[in-house]
Amino acid sequence: MKRAWVANVALICMLPVVAIWASMADEPFIITLATKVAILALAGVGLNMALGQGGLVSLGHAAFFGIGGYAMGILASHAQSYTPLLEWPMLIEGSNSMPVIWLLALVSSGLAALVIGALSLRTNGVYFIMITLAFGQMFYYFSISWPAYGGEDGLAIYMRNGFPGLNTLVPLHFFGLAFAVLLVALALATLIGRSPFGLALNAARQSSERVETAGIRPYRLQLTVFVLSGMVTGLAGALFADLNRFVSPSMFSWQTSGEIMVFVILGGVARLCGPLAGAALFILLEQLLGGISDYWHIFLGALLLLIILFARGGVMGLIAGPGERAHV
């Protein structure tokens, strides 16, 4: 346990250290990468709530990631063109303030998670995986063909949205923001993990009958965590869109879902910093292998396979020791 704790702290500290070093060395691109790691890790932390604690293997989290992204895209594009988002029943203006965007991202991805979860949780196991995947695809096709917000072309936002008191165009500022959000999410995940809710949820993953006969409905527990998880991933989507100053349907694609899941598993399921370790490793591999060969996906695939087959518990499992399935 102690070792896991040390590993977590070291991992969390590593990111800002890298970013600050890059800032001093005038390597803005490395800060961008660090920001990307933080944001993708956030998406993974979201998924990990459902996956690690709830045992809900969702292969459709791209839906929430994308919704978060479009929350940003839609609000900001309206702000950019000075057209109201809604005139009826009340006037809603676009916005390029991050807090407002985040709120919309949280609310809309939470609602989507509520609907998708309510339907998907009627099933379990493999069905659940496939259904969430299919719902994700549904959003994907919708976003491609719906012309209002750019369809397949996506939406480009020329200026990064603002955050009170920060200049988000400075890479380090934006990194700090993303990292702070990540920290909050990690704290939240820790809090939930040891709370009564976390205990009940973990029990529901292991035996839903047990939870039921203890007077608690597993369905509700799982729906609750699914919504939370969707919200966190949605928030990550909004940040990701801001990082790229661009959203497009590819955020909804099933490969995105797969990649978020890869972060989680690569890093170690149900481990606090699993998603962070996974995202960091993934980005690192992408940068390193991408330079070696056009066919670098083969190597990535092979590496993933090796990790799954021989390093159970992911990277954090290797670093922090097998240990407990950490109550995140």
């Binding site: 390597e27 803005p28 691109f29 490395i30 961008t32 990307k36 096709y141 491609i144 063909s145 012309p147 750019g150 369809g151 397949e152 072309d153 996506g154 480009a156 020329y158 990701f240 790229n244 100053r245 661009f246 497009s248 590819s250 955020m251 991408g290 056009d294 066919y295 670098w296 996906h297």
Partner: protein, 352 residues
């Protein structure tokens, strides 16, 4: 800096653009130019990230290479806003030609509508009265149909949007058969076009088909086979265009890479030559001068005459080609010009 698609679906286009581009660079013998190439995997996020990297870390001056409109939309506005030049070797979304045009953005290929407009014009010239038109349901597809309708003077007997990435067109073909159309226009890039043509040919419908060059490109034709023979398509380039530059290009490309060049290769080649011509007369660090040098378009294009319109998009001739078989290889023969010195309608919206 070149951002292009080298892996995954659609990699063939990126590879052709790259090969065409590098051929020109090599032939020029110019050593001042340093090309960094990265693979965007056809993912907009990836393209944005690479652009950031090229601009921030590698400090490139000029970006190019993007194949797809959606990736261009993701990269171009922010790159030009950061004072970089972008030369498009493919993809000309209307937003970047109209309101979103930028002094540092030059399109060396075409505005997206151009080939569709040419197809419409061709159909009109052939005297077709009733066209059945179809395209995937995404912005480029919607633009395609709009473009065709802009120049086609007959009636439409049907208008269909298919799913992006759709591979089975039996349902659409049945509708075409059931309609009273006398011609078919389609815009289905990549694998979609291959599927459509094969299935269309197998269905024994005897209607003339027109389409933009994308579905009849050198790389794709071999996969379509006989089904494509005789089909008319519109393009700003053809391998048999009669000019010196082109002949030299086709010969040297074939020699170097062992395959016939495609439309995309020609565009990559032209893009590089445009860049080289500008570098010859101005220094990149002098933005004004370099911009003017680019705008002059003082290079020998594989398509013959080439000039930039007010919105930095090409003003060029568009040809009609026909698919033929040369020995074992399927390729295109140019039949003639359908639109002369064609610009685009979006230029009117451009503030430049």
């Amino acid at each position: 800096g070149m951002i292009t698609t080298l892996s995954g679906g659609g990699a063939s286009l990126g590879i052709d653009v790259r090969d065409g581009f590098m051929l020109a660079v090599e032939q020029s013998g110019n050593t001042d130019i340093e090309v960094v190439i990265e693979d965007d995997q056809r993912k907009p996020e990836m393209a944005v990230q690479i652009a950031d990297k090229m601009i921030q870390s590698e400090k490139v001056d000029v970006l190019t290479g993007i194949i797809w409109s959606n990736l261009a939309m993701a990269v171009v506005p922010s790159a030009t806003a950061q004072g970089k030049f972008y030369l498009s070797p493919n993809a000309g979304p209307s937003a970047l030609a109209g309101k979103g045009c930028h002094a540092n953005y030059f399109n060396v290929a075409w505005q997206n509508d151009a080939l569709h407009e040419a197809a419409g014009a061709h159909a009109t010239a052939e005297g077709y009265q009733n066209s059945f038109i179809l395209a995937p349901n995404y912005p480029a597809g919607q633009d395609a149909l709009t473009g065709y309708k802009r120049t086609f003077e007959g009636e439409l007997s049907g208008e269909l949007f298919t799913k992006l990435g759709q591979t089975d067109y039996a349902a659409e073909i049945a509708q075409i058969r059931a309609s009273d159309a006398d011609s078919v226009f389609f815009f289905l890039p990549g694998g979609m076009g291959i599927s459509f043509l094969k299935q269309f040919a197998d269905n024994g419908i005897d209607l003339p088909v027109v389409g933009p060059a994308f579905s009849f490109d050198q790389g794709i034709l071999q996969a379509v086979g006989d089904a494509a023979l005789g089909v008319r398509n519109t393009s700003q380039w053809g391998k048999d265009l009669d000019n010196e530059t082109n002949a030299a290009f086709v010969a040297s490309f074939e020699e170097k890479y062992g395959r016939l060049p495609s439309l995309y290769a020609s565009q990559g080649f032209d893009t590089a030559n445009l860049l080289l011509s500008a570098m010859a007369s101005a220094d990149v660090s002098d933005q004004e001068a370099f911009r003017a040098a680019l705008k002059a378009a003082d290079f020998d294009s594989t398509r013959g005459d080439f000039a930039f319109g007010s919105n930095n998009h090409p003003v060029q001739d568009i040809y009609v080609r026909e698919v033929i078989k040369e020995g074992d290889v399927y390729t295109n023969r140019t039949l003639g010009v359908t639109l002369t010195d064609h610009g685009d309608v979006h230029a009117a919206d451009c503030a430049l």
